[in-house]
């Protein structure tokens, strides 16, 4: 007898125990199919799981401490791994983490492999899924094993082994969180990535920062008392392109985070006031202003001009590459108001995408290229999405505060954006499928704006 793991109603805020001060906003009833790859037991079928946003069904997961196989007697590595994994799975919007106080067994006395522990201990606390694992520290070397179990079917779903140093434990947790999402939803999770954003947390000046999605590894990229805005990543997540007034005029800079150096992107046509890097990292689409007119050009990273994309006497800004690098979405006022257009990256005719609303801007292609998210003004701004070949726009945010600067997660299920819904501007995430709002991902003094979600960090 297989217990359905779907029809449990949880309170609105239950899924976000450690983020309970964060608002979860009503969403409509979309359906998510969990494509569980149920391999072993006879007659097991893929299980359909319905997630309908807050107040509806979330999978209950228990995350047990890691068994100490030597060198982690104070369980500090275990705590770091489990803490990060908890936060990530909460942020995913798919899971409710069962309170560790309810756990019956002691991870240090029980085993972590299939057959070495009692599933009844986890079924009795209504756990759908269970994470167990072990850690061993040998010198500076950490070996960490983590396993995901389906409690109802009493089977192992997935396991990962990680090796690294002690400081790598949170990163291991982020990679395991991505694997948990892949195992339970059929699609890799978005947590082994970085978020770049702009903040005034350091004082009056806008500076570019990065952090992990779960709020760790804060890094300040710029430190000059001017204006630094619009960070965007290349696909290697090694470079950040951003606009700065540090020379007392607007200019675009390409920062190499590894080599810790940067180059200024210049154009023979005028001031570069915005831009984006191509997915292959070789080209930059730049918004270049001259005599009040702003047009788009394709440049090499050295500033050599490959193509002029637009040639109007007005404004053409906010360029964004499609994931295959073949198209550019951008904002133009050629119709009289800011609207979203798409143009071939090699040049050609621009196709207008948006017709409703008198201020549509900041387009961003989804990772599969089929949709474009953007912000649209009706009073304040909200995030919308529209098919990239044209069609009906769909509103994704709810009118709470002003919602701006959509940036897709690499798996395409989430959009980071900035919102004033709680007063100061913060970075939030929305689940595209059901419009559930998650976050904020940032906190502290100042306003946080202009989020940019990187691609997966890779090895």
């Amino acid at each position: 007898m297989r217990r359905r793991i779907t029809n449990r109603i949880v309170p609105v805020y239950a899924a976000l125990t450690s983020y309970s001060r964060l608002p979860l906003i009503a969403a409509c009833g979309a359906v998510i199919v969990f494509a569980l790859s149920v391999g072993a037991p006879a007659g097991a079928q893929p299980i359909k799981m319905y997630i309908q946003g807050p107040g509806s069904q979330l999978s209950a997961i228990s995350i047990s401490g890691l068994k100490d196989l030597g060198g982690d007697s104070d369980h500090s590595l275990s705590s770091e791994f489990v803490g990060t994994l908890r936060r990530d799975l909460e942020l995913s919007g798919y899971f409710r983490i069962i309170d560790p106080h309810a756990y019956i067994e002691d991870p240090q006395t029980s085993g972590y492999q299939l057959g070495q522990f009692n599933f009844a201990d986890w079924r009795s606390i209504n756990s759908d899924f269970l994470v167990k694992g072990a850690v061993k520290v040998d010198g500076g070397n950490v070996q960490l094993t983590a396993l995901l179990f389906d409690v109802a079917q009493q089977r192992r779903m997935m396991g990962k082994e990680f090796t690294g140093s002690a400081s790598d434990a949170p990163r291991m947790a982020r990679r395991f969180a991505d694997a948990v999402l892949e195992s339970t939803t059929g699609q890799n999770g978005p947590f082994d990535t970085k978020l770049a954003f702009v903040s005034t947390r350091g004082g009056r000046f806008k500076e570019v920062y990065t952090q992990t999605i779960d709020g760790q590894d804060p890094f300040r990229l710029t430190d000059n008392p001017t204006i630094n805005i619009f960070p965007s990543w290349d696909r290697s997540a090694r470079h950040i392109l951003y606009l700065s007034y540090k020379s007392m005029e607007p200019a675009l800079y390409l920062a190499d985070l590894q080599a810790k150096r940067e180059t200024r992107i210049v154009s023979s046509h005028g001031r570069v006031i915005g831009g984006a890097i191509s997915p292959d990292g070789q080209r930059i689409v730049a918004a270049v202003e001259h005599a009040g007119t702003t047009n788009l050009f394709i440049l090499t990273r050295d500033g050599e001009e490959l193509a002029q994309l637009t040639d109007t006497s007005g404004i053409n800004v906010s360029p964004a590459f499609s994931p295959d690098g073949s198209k550019i979405a951008f904002t133009s006022d050629r119709s009289g108001t800011p609207q979203i257009y798409v143009i071939p990256a090699g040049g050609g005719a621009a196709k207008r995408l948006t017709y409703s609303g008198d201020y549509n801007t900041t387009p961003a292609f989804s990772p599969s290229g089929d949709r474009i998210a953007y912000q649209s003004r009706h009073g304040r701004f909200d995030i919308f999405v529209i098919p990239s070949s044209g069609g009906e726009p769909k509103q994704l945010t709810d009118g709470e505060g002003s919602n701006e600067y959509p940036s897709w997660s690499p798996d395409g299920r989430y959009i980071a954006f900035s919102s004033t819904r709680s007063g100061r501007s913060r970075i939030y995430v929305l689940m595209v499928i059901n419009q559930k709002i998650i976050g904020p991902l940032t906190e502290g003094k100042g306003d946080d704006t202009c989020p940019a979600w990187s691609w997966w960090l890779g090895e």
């Binding site: 005029e249 154009s267 006031i273 009040g292 702003t294 906010s318 904002t331 800011p338």
Partner: protein
Amino acid sequence: MTRVQRGRGGWVSSSRGMVGARVAVMLCAILVVAGCSSKKAKQVNAPGPASPLGEQNQNGSSLSQFQNGSLGSGANGPLSDIHFGYNDYTIQPQDGDVLRSNAKWLNDHPQSRVQVEGHCDERGSEDYNIALGAKRAQAAKDYLVTLGVSPGRISTISYGKELPICTEQTEDCWAQNRRDHFAVSQ
């Protein structure tokens, strides 16, 4: 309403040339402002950290005023701001007199230079507003040129919505921020 029209073309200068010219203009501005900064200094209400360009630039650009904490303190120099409608860069009829007065001052002070700064209110995206501010700055430059000011004495810059002089979320405040500011360097 006067809609200032511009033609296209003229995108010929090399980038290094343009950057060089701007640097030259900025250096000029610093040197020139140094001469008059002493008598203006008392208008600066809230001195902050010195800007990279030094004390003498404190009545210069809005960005240097923002750096030293004097933005919005009224230390505006000899020329008056003009204002714009929402998401608009046309010169408004009531600002014709302001621009004529600004042009007269510039024509009376032929050694002076001016940088026209385009500014926007907080609504809308940062990048679109930088382009919109560039339109606003260019509109005033073109107007001043029609009034006899040599284009070589007028540079432009856009600060988008980054340097508001009023930070409340009211229409009155937004209207103050939708402005061209004229930073004179002599």
